[in-house]
Symmetry: C2
Subunit: 361 residues, 2 copies
């Protein structure tokens, strides 16, 4: 497609063009079945194959060990903010949370409805410009889990040192999902919405350690129970067929591109190019985030004034560099450069930034 | 498409071919934007227009009065089984349920986790072959709502007389959603999954009476709160973009076809053709459902033996009449004939039934 634009949206966002074209081709008549995949029973052989492949690939691409099950659940990461404490927190347990920004705060707010929650670390006083080191985390007795947000989409920070603590981790990985390896042995549960690195919006992928499912709470509605969803292979009710289908295609693309290693390599390369341009601009562009905590997915930066930021975003848009506005809660600029965003898009942005600086410095 | 098959799936199921073809055409590059709709920010102007149109059309096509809000929520009808009592049931309330079959039972099971629940009527002793009349419903004091399932997908029965009671109704309408007018004044809340009459799987549409949102429970996770979802226009978090987009297209198709009246007219015509064929077969085909309660969406029928049923389904499949197997929990045959299934498909099925009878009677 010749007129494809550079799309720096924070999510939903750029998907691999080859995936889109393939899905388009088979959209009306799936594999000669005489109907679309989205018209088929989710218990039939076609979708069964699609769902199985997506589940196997999700574990394979992310390197999840055999003692984890993968669940496909509706409601995005936001519903997981409730489901995690609903399922995991017992009456005598506490849950520890790292308050690293907007998304962590959301997880904390919802968890407080379902149990005893405290902050193991609070980044508010640093204005959420960095992630904590392990030795800064304060854990109390009877802590069931420590909840972390691996990447804050709005603040543009990421966990660079996985917590070294003696309680299981639960991780919201929505905005850097499957962009780097993770230390599985530390985790009881990993979750994230798919609408950034993995596919179209409408689902969360949850990896849960099988052994904890024996001890999760039972006195909750069945859709919300991890044990039931696992037992039913995420088909307790009609699953989001199209989203699972597209997830499978994106995972296949990731595997063909070289898997998690390649994704991480590209993320370092793309974000490095952009941070170098920012740092090399003599403070015309400025990233407020502590260097070690800088996100490889969401690169936030400011210009000398809000007027220049507006001009920058407007002129970038005219140059087909889209969705560079920072989140409304923090302002500034943000380039989200997820797995499927081509290197060429980042290079085009850096070119534009340099030209813009020359004209406006 | 010349090789399109007759698809009697209970859901996901047949969608209008024109809708599929239109979506295919604009799948990779949406309206010349240089990206797919599923790659766009859900806060951007393109999706904003799509979501608004779908919301307006949902109310318009279904004839919902102004004092109802429409919500697009993930998790299907099954998550509503929990959300309804979570939000609506106070500590001193009771909830009455009509036990009309498999889906009602599910709603009852989940509601029991969240409050005081009793059965206003139980169809189990009739083997779920009919719906109750109003004078059969037994309501207790302090009943917050009476929950009904307007159509049981598996049993093939539908409510033919809307309950005339002095408590608000809550209705699960998943399997006959927007196929007939409903008495809105009786309802506080109407919900249903979209994957039968309205679009691809992955969402429930919920109509909620605005005035009750002042009194819903607040001590629950935010995704699960009707008041928050309403205040945020169902965009508290990233919505299922593609499902909403397709829902809008299906609603537009419904409107162009003549709206709810036409849908009801067609449903009566299609189901009538099929029930006439069954009733006129001299008991070769047999529908176990009481005549007044017969579903216009899911037509269940038996043959003289299970062997003949298997043969019937196998030979129908070879004649491109697909997915006629009854639900595994009840056996037999079932033809689901939702809004988008053409009359010609039902006519082809009836032809096949007559031929099959001649050969096998």
């Amino acid at each position: 497609m010749s007129n494809r634009k550079h799309n720096f949206s924070a999510g939903p966002c750029t998907l691999p063009l080859s995936v889109l074209e393939e899905a388009q081709k088979e959209f009306v008549d799936y594999q000669g079945a005489g109907m679309s995949l989205i018209e088929m029973s989710h218990r039939g052989k076609h979708f069964d194959a699609v769902a199985n492949e997506a589940m196997v690939l999700a574990k394979e691409v992310f390197g999840a060990p055999d003692d984890f099950s993968v669940l496909f659940l509706q409601g995005g990461a936001l519903l997981q903010f409730s489901m995690v404490p609903m399922n995991l927190l017992g009456a005598n347990d506490k849950a520890a949370y790292v308050n690293s920004g907007t998304w962590a705060k959301g997880a904390i707010t919802d968890a407080r409805e379902y149990g005893n929650v405290y902050l193991a670390w609070d980044g508010e006083s640093d204005n959420f410009t960095r992630m904590p080191l392990s030795n800064e985390l304060q854990l109390e007795e009877n802590t069931r889990y420590l909840h972390i947000t691996s990447n804050e989409t709005i603040g543009g920070i990421r966990i660079h040192e996985w917590p070294d603590v003696n309680v299981p981790l639960v991780g919201d990985m929505s905005s850097d999902y499957m962009s780097r390896p993770i230390p599985w042995r530390k985790f009881d549960l990993v979750y994230g919405g798919v609408q950034k690195n993995l596919g179209p919006a409408g689902m969360a992928v949850v990896f849960v350690r099988k052994s904890i499912l024996e001890h999760t709470n039972r006195n909750i509605g069945r859709y919300l129970r991890y044990d039931i969803q696992e037992e039913k292979g995420s088909m307790f009710n009609t699953p989001p067929v199209f989203t699972i289908y597209m997830l499978g295609k994106v995972l296949k693309w990731m595997k063909a591109e070289g898997g998690l290693q390649a994704m991480e390599h590209n993320a370092i390369k793309k974000s490095g190019l952009l941070y170098d341009a920012i740092d090399g601009s003599g403070s015309f562009y400025n990233c407020p985030v502590e260097v070690a905590s800088r996100s490889h997915m969401n690169v936030v930066f400011r210009l000398p004034s809000e007027e220049l930021e507006q001009k920058f975003i407007a002129e970038a848009t005219q140059s087909d560099l889209l969705n560079l506005k920072g989140h409304r809660s923090v302002g500034g600029c943000r380039a989200s450069i997820y797995n499927a965003l081509p290197y060429e898009s980042v290079a085009a942005l850096v070119d534009f930034m340099q030209t813009f600086q020359k004209t406006n410095a």
